[in-house]
C-alpha cells in the first residue's frame, strides 16, 4: 500500500496542528444539542404541553419547512430531533466541508502539500489523513450527542439513531467536499460548490416535507430524517447515506490519481493579456476578486428563495385545514401564518447572505496576510481606499443578495399560486435586513482594525446570531441576550409593520463600526502581525 505511506504521521500532524479548531467544532455542536434538550424540557414541562404543541405543529407549515416532517413531536426526543435535527445536520455538514476543503485543496493551493509530497509519502496519504481526521470528528460529534441525549433521560434507541444520522450526513458532505476538491484548483470554489449542494439538500427537504415527502428522498438531510428518530425508528434509510458516501469517496479517489498536483480537472485557459478598463482602481479590483463569490452566494440565495417561495401557497393551504388553530398561532404576532412564515424565511436568507458579507469584509484581512495588500498599498492607494473598496462590495453585495432573495421568493410564490401582487411586499420584507448585515460588516472590520488576530470571531458572532434566530425560543434565552443580535431588531416584515427607527439606528451603528475599523487599520502596521 505505498499510496498510503505516511498516513499515520500526517494524521497525527493534522490533529496537532488543528487541535483547537477540531475541539471548537465538536464542543459547539454537542453543546448546542445538549442545550436544546434542556430548553425543550423547560418550554414543555408536561406531557399536556407536549401534546398541545405536537397538535399545533402538525399544521404549522412554516415550522415544517424549516425543521422537517412532524414526527414523534409529543415526546421530548421527537421535539429535540425536530428543533435541532436539520440545523445540527447542516452544522456537521459545514464542519466536514470546511475541514476537508482546507486540509486537501487548501493545502495544495498554498503549495504546502508539495513539500509534504516530496517526502516519502504516498499519493493518497494526505487525503486519507484528512478524511480520517474529519471522520473522527463526525464520530465524536455523533457519539457525544447520543451520550448527551441519553444522559438527559431520552430513549437509547432514538438517541443512538439520531447520533448516527448526524455522523452519516457529515460523511456524505465530506464526500462531496472531497469530490469537488479534485475537480477545481481553487479552495474557495470547493467551499462554494459543496455549500451549494448543502443548500440544495436543505431546500429539497423543505419542498418534500411540505408536499407528500417524495422529494425529501433526494436530500441527504431528508433521508436522515426518514430514519424517524424517537418516532418509530427504522435504520434502513441510513444505508442510502452510507452508499452515497462510498460512491463519492470512490469517485474522488478515481479522479485524484488522474490529475497532477496543484491542477484541477479543467486545465486553465489563457486569459486576457491586458486588463479591462474597470480593473484600474481599487474598487474595480475588489469587485473582480469577489465577483465569483458574489455569484456563488447569489445562486445559493436564489435557490433557497425559489424553494421557500414555491412552498408559500402550501402554507396557505395548511391554514385552510384548521382555521381556528391558525388564528391561535398567529394571534401573538398579529400577522397571518403565511406572513410569519415569510418573515422567518427572510431571516434565514439574510443570515445566509451574511456569510457573504463577512467573507467579503475579511478579504481586507486575507489580502493583508497573503502580502497582496503590500503591492497595492505600495501604489498611490491609501489604506482607507483599499479597505473601503472591499467594504463597498460587502455592503452593496448584501443589498444585492437580499434583493435576489426577495424577488426569487416573491416570484416563486406568485407563480406557484400565491399571486404576483405580493412581489413588492416580499421584496421590501427582504431588504429590511440590509442594515443588520451592515452591522455585521462593521463588526468584522472593527475587529480587523483593532484586533486583527481575532477577525475569525466575526464568524462566531454570526453563528451566535443563527443560534439566537432559530433556537432562541427553544433554548429559553433571556430576551436581552436575544436582542443583542442585530437580526432580532429588524422589523419582521411582512408579518409586522415597517418601523424605520431600528433600521436607522443600525445603519448609524454600522457606519460607526466601519469608521472605527478603518481608523484602526490606518494606525497599525500592515502585515502578518
Amino acid at each position: 500500500m505505498t499510496g498510503l505511506t505516511g498516513t499515520r504521521a500526517l494524521t497525527r500532524f493534522i490533529l496537532r496542528r488543528d487541535r483547537v479548531r477540531i475541539l471548537v467544532w465538536i464542543v459547539a455542536i454537542v453543546a448546542l444539542a445538549a442545550l436544546t434538550v434542556v430548553g425543550i424540557k423547560g418550554v414543555f414541562p408536561t406531557q399536556a404541553a407536549l401534546d398541545q404543541t405536537a397538535a399545533a405543529t402538525a399544521h404549522n407549515a412554516a415550522a415544517i419547512a424549516f425543521n422537517g416532517a412532524p414526527q414523534g413531536l409529543n415526546t421530548v426526543g421527537g421535539q429535540v430531533a425536530f428543533q435541532f435535527g436539520a440545523g445540527g445536520m447542516v452544522l456537521v455538514a459545514l464542519m466536514s466541508i470546511f475541514m476537508l476543503g482546507r486540509l486537501t485543496r487548501g493545502e495544495e493551493e498554498a503549495g504546502r502539500l508539495e513539500v509534504v509530497r516530496s517526502l516519502p509519502v504516498g499519493i493518497h496519504a494526505n487525503t486519507l489523513a484528512a478524511a480520517i481526521t474529519v471522520a473522527t470528528m463526525n464520530l465524536a460529534v455523533g457519539a457525544l450527542t447520543s451520550g448527551a441525549l441519553m444522559a438527559q433521560g431520552l430513549p437509547a434507541v432514538g438517541s443512538v439513531l439520531f447520533g448516527v444520522s448526524l455522523i452519516l450526513v457529515g460523511f456524505v458532505f465530506g464526500g462531496v467536499a472531497l469530490f469537488v476538491a479534485q475537480v477545481t484548483e481553487n479552495t474557495r470554489v470547493v467551499y462554494g460548490a459543496a455549500g451549494a449542494a448543502l443548500g440544495a439538500a436543505y431546500v429539497l427537504r423543505a419542498v418534500g416535507d411540505i408536499g407528500d415527502g417524495t422529494v425529501s428522498w433526494f436530500s441527504p438531510i431528508g433521508v436522515a430524517q426518514k430514519a424517524r428518530p424517537f418516532a418509530d425508528e427504522r435504520w434502513w434509510p441510513l444505508l442510502l447515506l452510507v452508499a452515497a458516501t462510498v460512491l463519492l469517496v470512490a469517485a474522488a479517489s478515481a479522479l485524484a490519481v488522474r490529475r497532477d498536483l496543484g491542477a484541477g480537472l479543467v486545465a486553465p485557459r489563457p486569459g486576457p493579456a491586458a486588463a479591462a478598463p474597470t480593473l484600474g482602481h481599487p474598487l474595480g479590483l475588489a469587485f473582480r476578486l469577489q465577483r465569483g463569490s458574489l455569484l456563488g452566494w447569489g445562486a445559493g440565495v436564489l435557490v433557497v428563495g425559489i424553494g421557500y417561495g414555491w412552498i408559500g401557497p402550501s402554507v396557505d393551504a395548511f391554514i385552510g385545514q384548521n382555521k381556528a388553530l391558525a388564528e391561535l398561532l398567529a394571534g401573538a404576532g398579529g400577522g397571518s401564518l403565511t406572513d410569519l412564515y415569510f418573515a422567518a424565511s427572510f431571516r434565514l436568507m439574510a443570515l445566509l447572505a451574511t456569510g457573504f458579507a463577512i467573507g467579503s469584509t475579511l478579504r481586507v484581512r486575507s489580502e493583508e496576510t497573503s502580502m497582496r495588500a503590500d503591492v497595492i498599498l505600495a501604489t498611490p492607494v491609501s489604506r482607507w481606499r483599499f479597505a473601503a473598496s472591499h467594504l463597498a462590495v460587502a455592503c452593496a453585495g448584501s443589498v444585492i443578495l437580499l434583493a435576489v432573495a426577495g424577488l426569487a421568493t416573491g416570484l416563486a410564490y406568485g407563480l406557484a399560486g400565491g399571486g404576483l401582487q405580493s412581489v413588492p411586499r416580499l421584496f421590501v420584507a427582504a431588504l429590511v435586513y440590509a442594515p443588520a448585515m451592515w452591522v455585521m460588516v462593521g463588526l468584522a472590520i472593527a475587529l480587523d482594525g483593532l484586533a486583527p488576530r481575532w477577525v475569525g470571531a466575526s464568524w462566531a458572532i454570526l453563528a451566535a446570531c443563527v443560534v439566537v434566530g432559530f433556537l432562541g425560543a427553544v433554548l429559553n434565552l433571556p430576551r436581552w441576550l436575544q436582542d443583542l443580535s442585530p437580526f432580532e431588531r429588524v422589523p419582521q416584515l411582512p408579518a409586522a409593520s415597517l418601523t424605520v427607527l431600528p433600521l436607522l439606528a443600525m445603519s448609524v451603528l454600522a457606519a460607526g463600526l466601519i469608521l472605527i475599523g478603518l481608523t484602526g487599520l490606518r494606525r497599525r502596521d500592515i502585515g502578518r502581525i
Binding site: E109, E185, N186, P268, P270, G271, P272, A273, A274, A275, A276, L279, G280, H281, P282, L285, R288, L289, G292, S370, M371, R372, D374, V375, I376, L377, A378, T379, P380, V381, S382, R383, D525, I526, G527, I529
Partner: protein, 333 residues
C-alpha cells in the same frame, strides 16, 4: 495624455532631486531606526542614506532586516523610534503622495491567482497613473513573459518577472527592489541588470536589496551592509575595498621567512617554496617589497571580492556572538 503626465513629472521631481544650486540631494535617509516585533528587535538603530540618482546595494543575510526596512520605507510599518525620510517626506504620513513617485518589487511576490500577468501589470500601472503600453509590451518581450497566463500557473521566477515588468514600466523616480532576482535564471538576470543600468542612466534612484553579491558588485554605486538590524558597513565599493584584504599566492626563490613579522598579514600558509596569505590592502607595499627581496618566481594576487568581504564580516562576528544569533534564529519563523 502621457505627454501631459510626463510634463508634470519633470516639474514635480525638481524640488527634491536637485537643490537650486544643482547639488544632489538625499533620496532615502534613516537615522536610529528601530522596530520591534514583540520581543524580537528587527531594526536596531538603522542609519541608511541613499543619494538621489544612485543604485544603492542593500546587502545582508536572511533575516537581517532588509525587508523590514523596505516595509518601513513604504509606510506599511511604523518605526518604533528614529527618523525616516523618503524623497524629503515622511513615508508613514505621506504614503499616498510618495507612492506616486516610487515602484516596489517585493521579495516574495504574492499576487491574485485568478488574474493574468498582463492584468496585474496593467492594474499597477493604472493605480500609479502612468501605464505606458509601449514600454510594458517591450519589457514583456525582453523578459519573455506571457501575459495571458493566470498567476496561479506562473513559476516563482515568472511571478517575479510580473512584478519587475510592472515596476520597470513605470515612471517612478525611486525603485525599491527587495531581492528582485532571487527567482530569475542567469539570462534573465543579465536582462534585469541592463534594465537597471538604463534606469540609472535616466537619473532615477534604485535601492536594491540582495544577498547575491555579484549582482550588487555589477550594478551598485554604493552599498550598505546590514546585519541584525543595523548598518555595519557602507560606502562605495572602492572605499570598502580599502578595509579589506588582497589574497596573494607566490613562489619565492628563498624560503619565505620573516613574512609573519610584517604588519597586516593574515592566514599565512607556507608550503615549501609556495606561500599563501592575505594582506590588508593598505599594507600591500611593504609586503610586496619583502617578497621581492626573497626573489619572486610566480605571483598571483586577486583583489577582494565582495564575497570575501561579506564572509569575513559575518564569519568573524558570527563566531563571536553565538548568543545573539541564537536569539535571532529563534525569533525567525
Amino acid at each position: 495624455m502621457t505627454n501631459e503626465w510626463e510634463a508634470g513629472y519633470v516639474s514635480e521631481r525638481g524640488p527634491w532631486s536637485r537643490c537650486d544650486d544643482g547639488h544632489v540631494t538625499v533620496a532615502i535617509s534613516t537615522s536610529g531606526l528601530t522596530k520591534n516585533f514583540g520581543s524580537t528587535r528587527a531594526l536596531d538603530g538603522l542609519d541608511l542614506s541613499v543619494t538621489a540618482g544612485e543604485v544603492h546595494g542593500f546587502l545582508g543575510p536572511n533575516g537581517s532586516g532588509k525587508t523590514t526596512t523596505i516595509r518601513v520605507l513604504l509606510g506599511l510599518l511604523r518605526a518604533d523610534s528614529g527618523s525616516v525620510e523618503l524623497l524629503g517626506k515622511d513615508p508613514w504620513r505621506d504614503a499616498v503622495e510618495l507612492h506616486r513617485r516610487l515602484a516596489y518589487v517585493p521579495g516574495e511576490v504574492s499576487l491574485w491567482p485568478n488574474l493574468t500577468g498582463g492584468e496585474v501589470i496593467d492594474l499597477f500601472g493604472r493605480l500609479r497613473g502612468d501605464l505606458d503600453r509601449r514600454r510594458r509590451d517591450e519589457l514583456l518581450e525582453r523578459f519573455l513573459l506571457d501575459p495571458t497566463k493566470q498567476i496561479r500557473s506562473y513559476s516563482r521566477g515568472n511571478r517575479q518577472k510580473v512584478a519587475l515588468v510592472a515596476a520597470l514600466a513605470s515612471d517612478a523616480e525611486l525603485l525599491l527592489l527587495d531581492e528582485p532576482t532571487s527567482g530569475l535564471d542567469p539570462l534573465m538576470e543579465a536582462i534585469f541588470q541592463d534594465c537597471i543600468r538604463e534606469v540609472k542612466a535616466q537619473g532615477r534612484t534604485v535601492l536594491l536589496s540582495s544577498h547575491i553579491l555579484a549582482e550588487v558588485e555589477a550594478l551598485c554605486d554604493r552599498l550598505s551592509i546590514i546585519r541584525l538590524g543595523r548598518i555595519v558597513e557602507g560606502g562605495t565599493l572602492a572605499e570598502l575595498r580599502h578595509l579589506t584584504r588582497t589574497s596573494i599566492i607566490a613562489e619565492t626563490v628563498r624560503p619565505a621567512q620573516g613574512l609573519a613579522d610584517l604588519e597586516g598579514i593574515h592566514n599565512l600558509d607556507i608550503d615549501g617554496a609556495q606561500v599563501r596569505f592575505e594582506v590588508d590592502t593598505d599594507q600591500l607595499d611593504p609586503v610586496v617589497r619583502r617578497l621581492g627581496e626573497l626573489g619572486i618566481r610566480s605571483l598571483v594576487s586577486h583583489p577582494p571580492t565582495l564575497e570575501e568581504l561579506f564572509l569575513r564580516h559575518y564569519g568573524d562576528e558570527l563566531a563571536q556572538e553565538p548568543e545573539r544569533v541564537d536569539r535571532q534564529r529563534a525569533a525567525t519563523p
